[in-house]
């Protein structure tokens, strides 16, 4: 069984607020899911390379010159940024505003 402290630690890493009730719930649920996932331990992976991506594309490059997509973006940049700022909960002088860090 995953310990209560571990659940709290993971929630903190994930920046996820949890209620006391949820901590107990996750203890049980995560334990049973990881028991099931533990099945993977049966597989011999000693000489296997990991797959992060099924198609296997690497480092997509493009010519170092203005491309139409970027140009389109620049042309509409003012419109775009005001749209994006409107979505933010709090702004000041065209910047996103946050609470203090300390």
């Amino acid at each position: 069984m995953i310990k209560k402290e571990e659940v709290k630690h993971i929630a903190k890493l994930a920046r996820l607020g949890l209620t006391e009730k949820e901590i107990t719930k996750f203890q049980k649920e995560l334990s049973s899911i990881f028991d099931y996932i533990g099945k993977l331990k049966e597989v011999d992976i000693s000489e296997v390379e990991p797959t992060s991506h099924s198609v296997g594309i690497e480092n997509m490059m493009r010519e170092d010159c203005p491309n139409p997509v970027e140009t389109r973006f620049q042309q509409t940049a003012g419109k775009q940024s005001s749209k994006l700022l409107k979505l933010a909960p709090d702004t000041k002088d065209g910047y996103l505003k946050t609470k203090s860090i300390l």
Binding site: G17, L18, V55, I57, L84, S100, I101, L102
Partner: protein
């Protein structure tokens, strides 16, 4: 026959011959969906003004005697995790309840260029995480074939909308079965393209190495038309690839079909098994060669998926921080929200639903120090073995047949309390996303009144082969592929 029973090709012909106008068609659909949506809750947003203005534009073009593209005037629905500019996009989450999409997804841009008519946004499991559409923050969608049952998920709203004739086709997204399983449960056609075949730009990310957008349609013929319209390399998605056009002609008599013995498992409904076996037999009668194959790592696909998908999700969902957009406690001026960390913790606590929180916890745990190698890295290695199983099988066969789901549509509420049981719904579909392959669900029969889908899996970028394979069944056994009309 009513106008809302027509397929894409039929409507295209009707518009060209001026049997009806795009505006007329659009209004019929809007009226029908406003009425019927009360019963099945397939739509979250109806984009009436957008639809009407798009339809008028087409009628002008037709009036001027100009040619129209094959999707012009065709009413469609879009899963609510795909961005349509200036329309709300919620991902069925409270955290994006008031989010207005600032731009069009590439697939939407492509459909708009063809002048397709967007009727609205459809319901889903929150952030596409789930197999029943019950995880929506805005209430579940119901299966049009039986209102006491789920439509499947996560693209449940899209599949139900197509099945109930509330649109001609819909877009869905598939990370572990989210297009195919609801298509199967609702008795419609659903295609998950090869990873990279369709741009993901403008799709709200769930698990980036698994997600793909694809069509949900009434027929395989329609599915082909929509897939051809949305596929292709996109500079805005560096994982997208231009599919090669296959020149070889499809012949059923030279088709080699593999049936993996590992996919007929304990716990599978005998009735579903019977329907699938019946469909395989019909392909044999049509002249295809059937052989048993083995995919030895099948039983590890689901545990592998439930490491990789939540891990990627936990990273992708870090962007919902209550600062840039979405639900936030920062503006509430509560006494408890003193600093930045409180904004993160509280916004995410109040904004995310139960399943999202569970997956974020799972993923963060699997990626955390001390567990990364035991879980995430191990899962990535098992993923290699699963992919190699398919590579080997495809040396011998052209396509692979399995069931989409071990059971037909289950009852609302039946599995929602037990996450592990719900996760098992993806047992036949998740492996295909891990391997990045294309797969389609086509309706091949029913258990009582509940539709059952056959999964046809193909080689990477050979969508054409699986579409042709599906289409021949649809044409030869039309009685099986009838869409629910009520």
């Amino acid at each position: 026959m009513e106008l809302t029973d027509l397929t894409i090709t039929q409507v295209h012909q009707g518009l060209k011959k001026k049997k009806f106008s795009a505006l007329e068609l659009c209004k019929i659909y809007l009226d029908k969906l406003k009425e019927k949506n009360k019963e099945i809750s397939a739509f979250l947003t109806i984009t009436e003004n957008l639809a009407l203005s798009q339809a008028k534009k087409i009628d002008d073009t037709i009036q001027k005697g100009r040619e129209i593209p094959s999707l012009a005037g065709i009413p469609l629905a879009v899963k609510d995790n795909i961005l349509v500019e200036d329309v709300k996009c919620t991902a069925a989450s409270k955290i994006l309840e008031n989010y207005i999409a600032p731009y069009d997804a590439t697939v939407i841009k492509k459909l708009k260029e063809q002048d397709a008519v967007i009727l609205g946004k459809t319901n889903l499991d929150e952030f596409a995480m789930g197999s029943s559409t019950e995880n929506s923050a805005f209430g579940p969608t119901k299966n049009p074939a039986d209102l006491t049952r789920v439509p499947g998920g996560s693209s449940g709203g899209s599949a139900a909308a197509v099945a109930a004739n509330l649109c001609i086709f819909a877009l869905g997204s598939d990370t572990g079965g989210s297009i195919r399983q609801p298509a199967s449960f609702c008795g419609v056609v659903g295609l998950k393209p090869t990873y990279g075949a369709v741009s993901r730009y403008g799709l709200i990310a769930f698990a980036s190495s698994l997600d793909q957008i694809g069509p949900i349609t009434k027929t395989v013929e329609d599915c082909k038309i929509v897939f051809n319209a949305i596929k292709g390399k996109d500079p805005m998605d560096s994982t997208s690839v231009e599919s090669k056009v296959q020149s070889s002609k499809f012949k059923i008599k030279s088709l080699k079909i593999g049936v993996p013995k590992e996919y007929f498992v304990k716990g599978m409904s005998p009735e579903v098994e019977k329907v699938i076996e019946g469909a395989i037999k019909k392909y044999e009668e049509m002249g295809a060669k059937i052989s048993e194959i083995s995919l030895p790592h099948t039983e590890y696909a689901l545990p592998c998926y439930f490491i990789i998908a939540p891990s990627e999700a936990s990273a992708n969902l870090a962007r919902y921080d209550g600062i840039k957009y979405g639900y936030s406690t920062a503006s509430k001026n509560q006494k408890t929200t003193n600093n930045l960390l409180d904004v993160y913790l509280e916004s995410r606590e109040e904004g995310f639903g139960a399943e999202i929180r569970r997956r974020i916890m799972l993923g963060t745990y699997a990626l955390s120090a001390g567990y990364y190698e035991a879980y995430y890295l191990r899962a990535q290695k098992v993923r290699t073995l699963i992919k190699e199983d398919f590579d080997k099988a495809f040396e011998k066969v052209d396509v692979i047949f399995t069931s989409i789901s071990p059971t037909p549509a289950f009852k609302l509420g039946e599995k929602i309390e037990d996450p592990l049981t719900m996760y098992l719904s993806d047992i036949f579909t998740a492996s295909i996303n891990l391997a990045g392959l294309p797969a389609i669900s086509i309706p091949v029969g029913k258990v009582k009144n509940l539709p059952v889908g056959l999964q046809i899996i193909g080689k990477p970028f050979e969508e054409n082969t699986i579409l042709e394979t599906g289409e021949i069944f649809e044409k030869t056994y039309a009685e099986y592929s009838s869409v629910t009309t009520n």
